[in-house]
């Protein structure tokens, strides 16, 4: 503690769990926007990651509310947010934005995209997996060309709705912080936009990591065109994200309001490592420079010619650095916003616990959990191109297949 803080500010109210929450939602929004690149904007190179990105988004979305629930003083009362939402409250909209995104966007898109495969898998398999796949079809087993083209059209429309929804999901998280006028570190109209672009950065980087690691684990070759394109998009997103953050920074510095003194003190002392070193130097500038040099981002060819193996290693390293950087951004927003007193006269400290509900281990568990869920999802809904079931020829003109799944 240094200077004067209001006596009630002795305790920090939003802990590491609230850092995990925007980090995870950011990954969801980012992964979804990457998936929509293929579907809406027809970027064919990233096609191998399309289904993987959707499943990643779903796995992380399922975990997103958990840190918030664990953080509540009364988790069992959380249903009240659906019963009596206060329409004035940014946070009250969480339940609705979340439900909309989960039910209407992500699950529907995955369902329409996988339905044909689900039906065919159910026909070909035996035992438990067959019944799981059949249950997931909801009994809609029509594989007529008309039904399949309906799937295709709906998938496209949902993606088109999904892009603004993903923007809403994460922009809204930014708004939760950006609209707190009592807190000069948070209160900024740019906050939702900065959150959004950092979300895109983190989502692309995450899918890049998962794609490369999963290919390695499955002993499959990595599609170099695909990762080159991902790296290029990662670079573009980072440039936009970094420009927005710099704009916010310069704007604050130039306006130099009442709070500037205490905020500069905070950056120079409490946030030096997490903001200057981790967020800006290691998490943004270093990967941006390496990606800019190695990925075919600025022209059709990379600025530096490198063998594919080395390039993959650099992409993977950069993507991991980006994750560290984005986590630091969330940390600096959430924790940083509580390290200075609202009296603007002093700084406090955050003591991170190791154990306990709000401790480091709980946060780590919540960050590992999506990968476990993703593993299960991949088992049920394999996203790999070779797993895609081929439509039997007979089906093409036989029309609808309904009722119980016919045996092979």
């Amino acid at each position: 503690m240094q200077g004067y803080i209001y006596p009630n500010e002795f305790e920090l109210h939003w802990s590491i769990l609230v850092v995990v929450y925007p980090y995870v939602t950011g990954l969801v929004a980012g992964a979804f926007i990457l998936a929509s690149l293929e579907r809406v904007f027809n970027v064919k190179e990233v096609q191998p990651t399309y289904r993987l990105a959707l499943l990643t988004a779903l796995a992380f979305l399922l975990v997103a509310p958990l840190p918030l629930l664990a953080h509540l003083g009364h988790p069992l009362r959380s249903y009240e947010i659906f019963l009596t939402p206060n329409r004035q409250s940014a946070m009250a909209m969480f339940g609705f934005v979340y439900a909309w995104y989960l039910m209407v966007v992500l699950l529907l898109e995955i369902w329409f995209d996988y339905r044909k495969d689900l039906v065919l898998w159910a026909r070909q398999e035996k035992g438990l997996t067959r019944w799981i796949h059949y249950a997931l079809t909801l009994g809609a087993t029509d594989l007529s060309p008309r039904a399949l083209s309906f799937d295709e059209r709906m998938g496209r429309w949902i993606t088109i709705i999904g892009i603004p929804s993903a923007f809403l999901l994460h922009g809204y998280v930014g708004f939760i912080f950006g609209s707190v006028k009592a807190n000069p570190w948070w209160s900024s109209v740019l906050m939702p936009v900065v959150f959004l672009f950092s979300a895109i950065v983190s989502g692309i980087a995450l899918v890049l990591i998962i794609y490369m690691v999963s290919a390695m684990l499955r002993w499959k070759p990595v599609d170099m065109k695909c990762v080159d394109k991902l790296a290029a998009f990662l670079f573009y997103a980072m440039v936009v994200d970094f420009s927005l953050e710099m704009l916010d920074f310069i704007h604050r510095l130039y306006e130099s309001e009442e709070s500037i003194e205490i905020l500069s003190q905070m950056i120079e002392s409490r946030l030096f490592i997490s903001l200057i070193v981790l967020q800006v130097a290691l998490g943004t500038l270093l990967p941006m420079i390496t990606l800019g040099l190695t990925a075919p981002a600025l022209s059709k060819r990379s600025a530096v010619k490198l063998p594919d193996e080395l390039k993959r290693l650099i992409y993977l390293g950069s993507a991991i650095l980006v994750q560290i950087g984005i986590f630091s951004i969330r940390w600096n927003v959430v924790i940083g916003g509580q390290l200075f007193s609202k009296s603007l006269r002093g700084l406090t400290v955050y003591k991170l616990e190791l154990f306990g509900v709000e401790g480091l281990l709980a946060a780590a568990a919540l960050l590992i959990l999506p990968f476990v869920i993703l593993w299960v999802l991949v088992k049920i809904l394999p996203p790999w191109p070779e797993a895609e079931a081929k439509l039997p020829r007979a089906e093409d003109d036989s029309g609808a297949v309904t009722g119980a799944v016919p045996l092979r």
């Binding site: 200077g3 004067y4 803080i5 209001y6 006596p7 009630n8 500010e9 002795f10 305790e11 109210h13 939003w14 918030l68 953080h71 509540l72 003083g73 009364h74 988790p75 009362r77 959380s78 009240e80 947010i81 019963l83 009596t84 939402p85 206060n86 004035q88 409250s89 940014a90 946070m91 009250a92 969480f94 939760i176 707190v180 006028k181 009592a182 807190n183 916003g337 509580q338 007193s341 609202k342 009296s343 603007l344 006269r345």
Partner: protein, 267 residues
């Protein structure tokens, strides 16, 4: 009963004044009953008219005035508030607290509030170097435009018709968004109930026509509680004869804690 035969333990706690009081009480009851009844009806400095059982919130609109020039930093308000509202002793949280400002001759500002001022303040260092110094009591401002109520996701904190911002202990989910949204640091999380807690203007007292505990015990009249919209109240007089300010007016929270003689360094 002979005084010398009395229980020594009782003896110790019994002081002459009490004996006088008891006698006075009997005398007063027998001889001065009409006068007592008369005096009871005379409104005291900060007291309001008793409303009895039929309390109607629409007839009231409460606020508090604070005369910085009268605060002596004794901390009695902090103690009384803690007692009256069962504020936990450890760790320390405060519905109200007192800040001490020391503005040095070079313009440097030092602020402190050890334990919210509950146990008073340690002696000042380098006394000759002080340009000015004063105490400022702080509490929930019961804003007319409260950001804490705006952000509550479930409607567990609310503004009553008589102008008091309260928390519903049985409905609060403990998300702490309201604590983040309060610009004045007036809210805290109850470590036992796990819900947001704050100053209630002693709502259970004011509906009975009493004043909040902090106002009841303030020895110098630095806190003036009352109705804003009536002409004949101590608060109305306070606001007539002082230039009043509110804290952080640029945030447009429209606070209802009105400060007289407030220094510009206070925030």
């Amino acid at each position: 009963m002979n005084p010398s035969e009395r229980d020594p333990a009782r003896e110790e706690s019994t002081r002459p004044t009490q004996e006088v009081d008891r006698r006075e009480f009997l005398k007063a009851c027998s001889l001065l009953a009409p006068i007592i009844l008369g005096v009871v009806r005379v409104p005291l400095l900060n007291a309001q008219e008793s409303e009895g059982d039929d309390y109607d919130p629409s007839e009231h609109f409460y606020a508090m005035g604070i005369d910085v020039d009268k605060c002596i930093g004794c901390g009695q308000c902090v103690v009384a508030c803690g007692t009256e509202n069962d504020v936990p002793d450890e760790p320390y949280f405060f519905n109200t607290w007192v800040e001490r400002y020391l503005i040095r001759t070079d313009g440097e500002v030092e602020v402190d509030s050890p334990n919210g001022g509950m146990e008073g303040f340690p002696p000042t260092t380098a006394e000759g170097d002080i340009r000015r110094s004063f105490f400022v009591p702080k509490l929930c401002n019961h804003c007319a435009n409260p950001p804490c109520v705006q952000v509550c996701p479930v409607g567990a904190t609310f503004k009553t018709e008589d102008g008091v911002v309260l928390v519903d202990d049985e409905y609060c989910i403990g998300c702490r968004y309201c604590i983040q949204a309060c610009p004045y640091g007036a809210r805290w999380l109850d470590p036992e109930k796990h819900v947001a807690a704050k100053c209630t203007f002693c709502y259970h007292r004011i509906v009975e026509g009493l004043v909040p505990a902090c106002v009841e015990v303030c020895p110098t009249g630095a806190r003036i509680f009352g109705e804003v919209e009536r002409r004949a109240t101590p608060l109305a007089r306070f606001m007539r004869f002082n230039e009043v300010q509110v804290l952080k007016p640029h945030l447009n929270t429209e606070p209802k804690a009105y400060y007289a003689n407030l220094d510009g360094e206070v925030r």
